[in-house]
Amino acid sequence: MTGPTDPVPADDDDARLRRLLDDFAPGDDRLAALRARFVRSASDAEAIDVSYRTLDSPVGRLLVCATTVGVVRVAFDVEGLDGVLERLAAAISPRIVEAPAALDDAAAQLDEYFRGERRSFDLPLDRRLSKGFQRIVLEHLPDIAYGGTESYAAVARAAGSPRAVRAVGTACATNPLPVVVPCHRVVRSDGTPGRYRGGMAAKQILLDLEAAS
C-alpha cells in the first residue's frame, strides 16, 4: 500500500483506486441473506453433517449441535464455542454449519426447561461422543427425578461399579450433553454441587431452578 505522504502522484492515484475497489464487496446484510439461502440449499442437499445454533439461557449462551441422528453436543460459553466446534469437526465431520431451523425443537424445549415449564426432554440424541463406562453412567441419569439429586457414590452403585466414584465424577464432568442429560443432578455426598462443564455456579443455578419449579 502506498502511504498517504507518498510524493508520487501516480502511486497515490493507484492507492485511491485500490481503496475504491475494496468497496466492490457485498454488504453485511447481503452476506447474511446469501448465507441463509446457502443454509437452505445445503439442508435440502443433505450436505450438512452437524447443524448448530446458539441460544441465551440463565447459565449463559449455550451452543446446541445436532447430527442427522439427534442432538450430539450441548456446550456452555465458558467452554469456548470455537474450540468446541473445532473438536466436533475432528470427531464427527467438518461439514458444520450454523442452521438454526434444524434445532428449533431442541431450542424450544430448552427454553421451556429454563422457564421451569419442562421437566424432561423429548429429543432424539446422538450419543456417539460418550463411550463405555461414561455411556452407562449418562444413560442412568434421566432416572434421577427432576428437582432431585443423587451422590456420585449412589450413581456408581447404580452403574454397577460401587468403587468407581471418581470415574462417575469424570463421566459427569465431561458429559457431552449437559442440561439435556441431567448430570447436574449428581452432587457430592456433602451436598455441594461438584464439578460441572459449565462451572459450579451454573450447576447451582440449574439445581435452584429445579428446586423452585
Partner: protein
Amino acid sequence: MLPFDRVVERHGTTVWRVCRAVLDEHDTDDAWSETFVAALIAYPSLPETADVGAWLVTIAHRKAIDVARARTRRPRPVEVVPESRPAPPADEALTRRDELVRALEQLPPGQRRAVVHHHLLGLSHAEAAELTGVSPAAARRASSDGIARLRSILTAADPSPPRRTP
C-alpha cells in the same frame, strides 16, 4: 480442519467478487450459493494442506460461468433494462459503491475479470490466466487496460475528485 461455517465467513466476500466479476447481482446470488454447497460437499476430502481460498476461487469461477451459460440459453423474461437511474442511496458510501459497480460493469468482461482477479483477489497474472483460460500476457494486458479504463470512467463521472489531504 476448520468447521465449514468458518470457511464461509472467511471467504464469503472473495467468492462474491469472483461471481460478481462475471455475473449481475441477481445471478451472483445463485452462483454464490451453488459454490458453497458444492464446496461443502467436497470439503472433507480436501487435503489438509490445500489453499482453501484458491480452491474456492476455482469453484466460484466455474459456477459463475455455468450460471452465465444457463442464462444465455434461457434469458430472463424482462429483457429491457430500465433506462432511468435508481434513486441515489442516502448513504455516501453506498453511492460510491454504486458508482464503482456501474463503472466495473462498463468494462468489457475480460477486463473486468482481470481487474477483480489481480487487484482485488491478489492473484498473479499467471494464476488469473490459468483460472480463465487465457495466456498470462493477455491477463496482464486485460488488467492494465481495465484499470486505465476504470480510472477514466470514474474521473469522467467525478470531474473534480476531492484530493484527500492527510
